[in-house]
Subunit: 345 residues, 2 copies
């Protein structure tokens, strides 16, 4: 149109177009403490629209000392668990007029440190660390340092999973959820359990295994067979295959997440087994995309999208007195077709 300047249109251009000063344009275009006369306000807005002005984010960030960006760090955005959390974060971020920078660590915990540092440099307002912590004291110490550096730089940090650091945290009650699941499965008549346990050092996986152990012990059942593997579909498939090869006497298999459970289902079919007749199977998370698998999977529902929303809400609200806040996220046991009532042989 009438863009004489070579580069993008600046607030100065808008001010000129509206016939006001740069300061007035600034105050008019985004709410400032100071008030602007009605007619000037309108003139600025009209000029901005006419020139298709978009405020220069980096410049605003410089002047204000912070951005409207929050970082979201997940283990793997292709995993529906994290995709669901991300969806909740995005929904809440839209309402709060915040931009989300995504980090996907490909399940390498060290990558969290890199992202944290970069996001600190970007002057991100906050970071949401979604995803299980890992049992590694040295890594945890370095993570603590990075989080502290991030907070010193004026940012907030929210963690979703375990409370291992003095930060705002959504504590996912994996252990009690798994315990309740085990107890309900026991009450259905199952007695010999196996657990497809995920990686040994992943705390979410470990907590769930522990909960199952406790639940079985609480009702006087023997400890389960435990098989470790990746926290993925293939991990579930492989662990189940090993279990079948071992010819262990088992009537109920619990995978520590739904994605693994689906892999386990495939392994059972590969071996010619019929579910749930030959073996019962349960998962964890209640992944939306997997609610229609057949037989319908018994699982523990986690409010994943809501968790993302809550995390972003924590980010946008100040904590009283700088104390870190805790939100407990409880799972809900859903008994479905994959674990019918069982009569012990």
């Amino acid at each position: 149109m009438n863009a004489m300047s070579p580069g993008p249109v600046t607030l100065q251009d808008v001010a000129n177009e509206a016939g006001v000063s740069l300061a007035t344009a600034s105050r008019a275009f985004n709410g400032s403490t100071r008030k602007v006369r009605q007619d000037l306000q309108e003139r600025v807005l009209i000029a901005a629209a006419k020139l298709n002005y978009a405020a220069n984010g980096p410049a605003q960030a410089m002047a204000r000392g912070r951005t409207n960006v929050v970082g979201l760090i997940v283990h793997d955005i292709a995993d529906p668990y994290f995709a669901a959390i991300a969806a909740g974060v995005m929904r809440a971020a839209e309402e709060a007029h915040l931009l989300v920078t995504l980090g996907s660590t490909m399940r390498r915990p060290e990558r969290e440190l890199d992202y944290l540092q970069v996001l600190r440099g970007q002057r991100s307002r906050a970071v949401i660390l979604a995803g299980s912590r890992v049992d590694d004291p040295e890594l945890l110490a370095r993570l603590r340092e990075e989080c502290e550096a991030f907070e010193r730089a004026g940012g907030r940090v929210v963690v979703i999973s375990q409370q291992k650091l003095p930060l705002d945290t959504l504590v996912v009650e994996n252990r009690s959820g798994a315990k309740a699941l085990a107890q309900q499965l026991a009450s259905l008549g199952y007695q010999r359990f196996a657990v497809l346990a995920g990686p040994a050092r992943l705390l979410t996986a470990r907590d769930r295994v522990q909960g199952i152990r406790e639940g079985l012990a609480a009702v006087g059942l023997p400890a389960p067979v435990v098989l470790h593997g990746a926290f993925t579909r293939d991990g579930g498939h492989d662990a189940m295959s090993h279990l079948l090869e071992s010819r262990a006497e088992v009537d109920c298999v619990v995978a520590v997440n739904d994605v693994m459970a689906v892999g386990a289902m495939a392994a059972c079919r590969d071996a010619g087994l019929h579910l749930p007749r030959d073996v019962a199977l349960a998962g964890f998370d209640d992944i939306a995309t997997l609610r229609d698998v057949h037989p319908k999977l018994t699982t523990v529902r986690l409010p994943l999208e809501r968790m993302g929303e809550i995390a972003l809400e924590l980010v946008t609200t100040a904590s009283a007195g700088g104390a870190h806040r805790t939100r407990r996220i409880r799972g809900e046991v859903l008994i479905r077709e994959s674990t019918p009532r069982h009569s012990a042989r």
Copy 2:
């Protein structure tokens, strides 16, 4: 540690610590055209590490006139189709040392315009528009304007789906893929088709319906029954329910994506139908998480993660002479258990 300054540590702090000028610190810490003496280089790097310095992104963006951020705009990050594309984008972005700002439009096309404007303001280096275009000339015109504004501001735009704008585009060959699918299904013996068609104005859905129509026509079969609905699990479930209520004589149902197909499977089971005995079913996309549903779903595989990678590669490489580039993405028909060989009654 020895941080005297109240706020975050700046490059000036690093320069002081290293006993060099600000300019030298700048040149040493990030590659510049000009060279820095080896020992000074090291002193700067050591000082930066000691102070845990993280370069101020917004300040760099101001000085350089652009950022290391690319925007990724999807319809719904919780949809595994987009989550897979996002995973590919993230992997390639990590290699290229680019940050990704995520936009999720919640399937409202107008939101793309908002994100585009904001990302332009953020001085994003580029934006990837993932997701089907919509049949709406006015919207398309506004989108074209926003994309042009974005490019005038120095950014690049890549589109994944249909080539509707003069931009770098990954053209997904939905029509030919669907046509090939229909023909292969016909060769298996199916004769009376229904299509769960998705929203009428969504071009991806429409192209796939059109391809199926062409495939059937090419082999002399009658046109399919077409039922529209949402591009989601519930959309597939509802459309299938309506189809069953209509008591139409159909031996093969094609859903225009896998997520809808899974919803349709659930609807069949709700109605007491057995798959694939009572009706055959096919989808589109080959969503990883759904590869283990039973019966295994016939579908058209799209290289979703690779598509994300390619999109980011287009973003990072300059196009010769400013001409826009096209990458054709072909689907691969995968016949699986949900559509066994069929003998017409």
